[in-house]
């Protein structure tokens, strides 16, 4: 079972979380009228086999959205940080 380090709650089973995919894409600024940018953001994915940064929400815990580093080729889990805080330097 995938175990996810929540920055608030510690390591937890992935079943406590909700997944929302690729976290490397930035959402176009609100009100941006560039339909192509929205299309690419909503519909296109790199979908890499290997290192991946992804959004998970600890729905059954602190309800924070976090960014998790995980290798999609092995499911090995790396660092995580709160999405609102940004990547620690």
């Amino acid at each position: 079972m995938l175990r996810i380090p929540c920055p608030h709650c510690g390591e937890r089973d992935y079943t406590e979380f909700r997944y929302a995919g690729d976290a490397t894409k930035t959402r176009p600024a609100h009100g941006t009228t560039d339909a192509r940018a929205w299309h690419d953001h909503v519909f296109l994915f790199v979908n890499p086999k290997g290192p991946h940064r992804e959004h998970w929400q600890h729905v059954q815990g602190c309800r924070q959205w976090l960014v998790l580093e995980r290798d999609t080729g092995t499911n090995a889990v790396g660092r995580s940080w709160l999405a609102r805080a940004g990547e620690p330097s």
Binding site: M1, L2, R3, D13, Y14, R18, A20, A23, R27, P28, H30, G31, T32, T33, D34, A35, W38, H39, H41, V42, H55, Q57, V59, R63, Q64, W65, T74, N75, V77, L82, A83, R84
Partner: protein
């Protein structure tokens, strides 16, 4: 049936505790400590089943989980369990079992006639025939094949037993309590770790259990067990199988309690599935003996040599009086020596030129007749082995009479669990078998799984990895010194790769699935070369034993045919579970009403006590209708609708999602997520809002009220509540962290009830006399929050039904008292509760969209809500809403329908056509929701129709071919009730 094979003394059985059990309606006896297999063998029962395809008589091959033949059906009725290997069943009083896959019986099986057709029934024969004479002819043949296939028969009765699941954590998990595992657990626990030791057997010791009582190995076993038992930080789980190793070093275990005859009425579980998270894992799962491939090697009485020894020493069962032991390695010599010691006549056939150190002398002293460089060609006998034919390579065939044949083709490390992690096994030429590939960090292996056959080395390895695992998890104490065996038993391996001996008869590689060397040759002939093709084409290794004794032999045979080495041939991927596990155990207690959690509103109990018939609404249970209104939903909901249209009713809306939105930027935030504007919503007012997905389809709708400048109270649909909540959090935390807004779900905090009907104001006035409900004080879409004897109350004047209506929210624990207070006080007005069906029907009449229209396919325009979209601000979904296909004519949009044929029915799911259409294809729309209209005294519906409202007034056809119905209806406005909205503003 022959005489008892039980020896007068010895074994790990308790002769003071005889146990009765029933096999095929025959009462038999064994002892505590027996397995079902040992008890059957002790009674001289050799024939335990029939094979899958040829229905050949079969006896036990093994003494453990690898058993391919001895599958029995245990229990009766709802407890009937087919295909259980007798070798893993701990004998208990009253055990009821049947042999399977024979017709009319296993002893006399007419299906054995299939053996005569064997030349036609080679691997994959079914791919080549049963195709004629016509297309679809397979459907004629298939029932015969299906009846012949399968093994045991299962029952359709519900399982009366109870299952549990639990979660656990440990520092070091040791899988397998053989010498290496015990040594590892001993070391890791002495180093100060929390250790969990799991063992599938009901005794600890693994291979040491097969040593004679009182032998040096037996004494060692007792010492190791005592060492481990003395440590308070070791949890020992017997009768527990590690099913699989999953990501995150999580191991699924199943603990079995069948031996104790658990009583579900006392809450005792038959099996418990444990999800264990370990910080380090020691794999000490041992090895499984391989068979030898020769003619008719499946005759009952041909057994793995190790199993013969196990039955002899552990269960005090001498499987025969005259034994032939055939081997390519040293391990089977122990069997020969122990059999000879028990007075059994033994001939030992060793394929090699010589055996390991000292074995020849020991055999001579024990009176074993040893022959080197010979191989078995064929077993003789039919329902029981009566002798063997063997030969030197190229030499003449010799015969030897016997009643048991012990065979050993070497040992395959039990690397199933290490494979689950994705580590590919590698071939070890010296061992002549596959060993685990590289271990992931925190995983360790010791003993036979690593190809180690020496007891001393297994102990040393076990100790070393136990210590290493302890260091890995940060233990600081010393593990002390390794346990040492008192003397080294002959376990040197030195196998010679076996090859196919000459000889007649079928030579089985996979016993259970009846795969022979000829099948492998056939697969080669046809080009099914890779191990995966071989497996899938011949079904090799796909039986209940998953090829534990056969996979390597099969791969070797194919490799030889292809002229490649074993490393290149590889092995198939092992999949969990390691041994079969009850589906019920995996489900645990999540069954019946507990299959999924049930959400109940605060007024749930009141509903039950007051005649509500409940219905599932996602995870919620909500009142469907109340018995005051009728005996069945069809009549009751109409009565309840009438109540709301003419008087006043109350319904429970607590399941609506409720979200507190607070902060200086709350209004700005709502402006972004809703298509319509909220920034200028005055305090004390509510507004209906719609949210879109990023792709411009409608996500949800609901009402949001403003209680002060920075505080909003949002409601969502019941279905989308969790979705909307996460979405808002996602936006605030990932996309717009700069917005000063907090959102909190308060769904469970507030009980909600809707009071609706022309008399709603009067009703509430009776119940809450101090509250000014006048339209001036509380206009339509007005909201009010006040304190009632210390209880906060929120009143929102909104309407889902189209009538004058108020939603009243109070803290959840006050829900029932407010509900009953309202009902009691408004009783003079005839207020009664109404359920979900009436609620949904009232909204259909009013033309409000709900779940069946909000199916993620529709845009704002499709639902007739296009005018809501703000022109002056951006909102989520706006940018992709302009894509051509979402704007072009011909989209299906919301309309009302009224039935034109009074005796017919409108039905949800009917497909709509214009009067001139041919009734075929996908039509021009469909009916989403139907109700009886108490306003119009006819059936009406909401529907989606091509260019919808442009066709208002047009007569169309509603096709429902599933009931051969075509009815006429007219397209009308979806607002059937009070289109000008006078009632809600009354």
């Amino acid at each position: 049936m022959t005489a008892s094979a039980r020896l007068p003394a010895g074994g790990r059985i308790d002769r003071e505790q005889p146990l009765s059990f029933v096999l095929d309606h025959r009462l038999l006896t064994g002892y505590a400590g027996d397995t079902l297999a040992s008890a059957l063998l002790a009674q001289g029962i050799r024939l335990v089943g029939r094979s899958f395809k040829y229905h050949r008589p079969r006896g036990l091959l093994a003494a453990g989980v690898e058993e391919p033949n001895g599958l029995l059906t245990l229990g009766e009725g709802g407890r009937r369990t087919p295909n259980v290997p007798a070798t893993v069943v701990e004998l208990h009083e009253g055990l009821f079992c049947q042999r399977q896959n024979g017709w009319p019986s296993v002893d006399f099986d007419l299906m054995a006639a299939t053996s005569w057709l064997a030349p036609l029934l080679g691997a994959g024969f079914y791919y080549k025939t049963f195709m004629g004479p016509r297309r679809g002819s397979w459907m004629f043949y298939e029932p015969f094949i299906r009846r012949a296939a399968g093994l045991g028969r299962a029952d359709h009765l519900p399982d009366p037993d109870r299952y549990e699941t639990r979660h656990a954590f440990t520092d070091v998990l040791v899988i397998g309590a053989g010498p290496a595992g015990l040594a590892a657990a001993r070391a890791a626990s002495r180093a100060g770790c929390r250790v969990t030791l799991v063992e599938q057997d009901f005794l600890l010791g693994g291979s040491l259990l097969s040593a004679a009582i009182g032998s040096a190995d037996d004494i060692l076993r007792a010492t190791l067990e005592a060492d481990v038992a003395a440590m308070p930080n070791v949890e020992v789980l017997r009768r527990t199988t590690a099913l699989g190793v999953y990501d995150g070093d999580t191991v699924a275990l199943v603990e079995r309690h069948d031996h104790a005859r658990p009583d579900p009425s006392k809450g005792e579980a038959r099996e418990v599935v444990i999800t264990l998270r370990a910080r380090a894992i020691v794999h000490a799962t041992g090895a499984i003996e391989r068979s030898l491939v020769f003619g008719d090697n499946d005759r009952p009485g041909v057994m793995l040599a190790g199993a013969v020894r196990t039955y002899l020493n552990r269960y005090a069962v001498a499987v025969g009086r005259q034994a032939v032991i055939a081997t390519n390695n040293d391990s089977a010599w122990s069997t020969a020596l122990d059999l000879a010691g028990a007075g059994v006549g033994v001939t030992l056939l060793d394929e090699r030129i010589e055996a390991g150190n000292g074995l020849a002398d020991a055999a001579r002293r024990a009176g074993v007749d040893v022959r080197h460089e010979v191989r078995l060609c064929r077993a003789l006998g039919r329902r029981a082995v009566q002798g063997v034919e063997f030969a030197r390579r190229g030499g003449a065939i010799e015969r030897r009479a016997c009643d048991v044949v012990g065979i050993s083709g070497g040992w395959s490390p039990t690397l199933h669990l290490t494979s689950h992690t994705g580590s590919k096994p590698t071939f070890d030429v010296g061992l002549d078998g596959f060993v685990p590939g590289p271990f992931a960090p925190g995983h360790y292996g010791a003993g036979a799984i690593m190809g180690t056959r020496s007891l001393a080395r297994s102990l040393a390895e076990g100790h070393a990895v136990g210590d290493a695992a302890a260091r890995h998890v940060g233990a600081a104490a010393s593990a002390g010194s390794a346990p040492a065996p008192t003397e080294e038993a002959p376990t040197g391996h030195a196998a010679s790769p076996p090859d196919r001996a000459p000889g007649r008869g079928k030579a089985f590689v996979d016993f259970q699935n009846d795969v022979t060397t000829r099948d492998i040759e056939l697969a080669h002939e046809e080009g099914y070369h890779s191990v995966e093709h071989l497996k899938r084409f011949t079904t090799l290794g796909m039986g209940t034993d998953q090829g534990k004794t056969s996979n390597v032999d099969a791969a070797r045979h194919m490799a030889a045919l292809r002229g490649i080495d074993m490393a290149a041939a590889g092995t198939t991927t092992y999949r969990p579970p390691y041994t079969p596990v009850s589906v019920g155990a995996l489900a645990g207690r999540s069954k019946g009403t507990h299959f999924r959690a049930t959400r109940r509103t605060p007024m749930h109990d009141w509903h039950l006590m007051n005649g509500a018939v409940m219905i599932e609404a996602g995870p919620w249970l909500r009142p469907w209708y109340y018995r005051w209104a009728g005996r069945a939903v069809g009549s009751a909901y109409v009565e309840e609708m009438r109540l709301v249209r003419t008087g006043v009713g109350i319904s429970d809306v607590s399941s609506l999602g409720k979200i507190d939105v607070r902060g200086p930027d709350a209004a700005l935030f709502l402006d972004r997520v809703y298509v319509n504007a909220f920034a200028k919503l005055p305090v004390g007012k509510a507004r209906y809002g719609v949210m879109l997905n990023d792709d411009a389809t409608v996500l949800d709708d609901g009402t949001t009220a403003r209680f002060d400048d920075n505080t909003f109270f949002m409601t969502t649909t019941t279905a989308q509540a969790a979705e909307v909540m996460s979405w808002l959090e996602f936006l605030l935390q990932t996309a717009w962290p700069e917005l000063r807004v907090q959102v909190v779900s308060v769904t469970d905090r507030w009980a909600g009830m809707s009071v609706a009907g022309p008399k709603a104001r009067e009703a509430i006035a009776l119940a809450l006399p101090g509250v000014d409900l006048s339209s001036e004080a509380l206009p339509y879409m007005g909201v009010r929050e006040f304190d009632l004897d210390g209880t906060p109350v929120r009143i929102l004047r909104l309407s889902f039904s189209g009538e004058l209506a108020y939603e009243i929210y109070v803290p959840a624990d006050k829900g029932t008292s407010m509900w009953t207070h309202l009902l009691e006080q408004a009783a003079p007005l005839g207020m009664r509760p109404y359920g979900l069906e009436a609620l949904a029907s009232l909204r259909i009449e009013k033309g409000h969209v709900a779940g069946l229209e909000l199916d993620h396919r529709n845009t704002l325009d499709d639902l007739g809500l296009g005018a809501m979209a703000s022109k002056s601000k951006a909102f989520i979904g706006r940018e992709l809403a302009g894509r051509e296909a979402l704007k072009k004519p011909g989209r299906w949009s919301l309309v009302g329908l009224e039935l034109l044929e009074p005796t017919a029915k409108l039905r949800g799911g009917a497909i709509l056509f214009s009067r001139h259409d041919a009734l075929e294809g996908h039509g021009r729309g469909y009916i989403t929701s139907v109700t009886w209209s108490t306003e119009h005294h006819k059936l009406i519906a909401l529907a989606l129709y091509e260019d919808g409202r442009m066709h208002e007034g047009e007569e169309i056809l509603c096709a429902y071919p599933l009931k051969n119905e075509i009815v006429r209806a007219r397209i009308v406005s979806p607002m059937f009730v009070d289109p000008s909205g006078e009632r809600v503003r009354a």
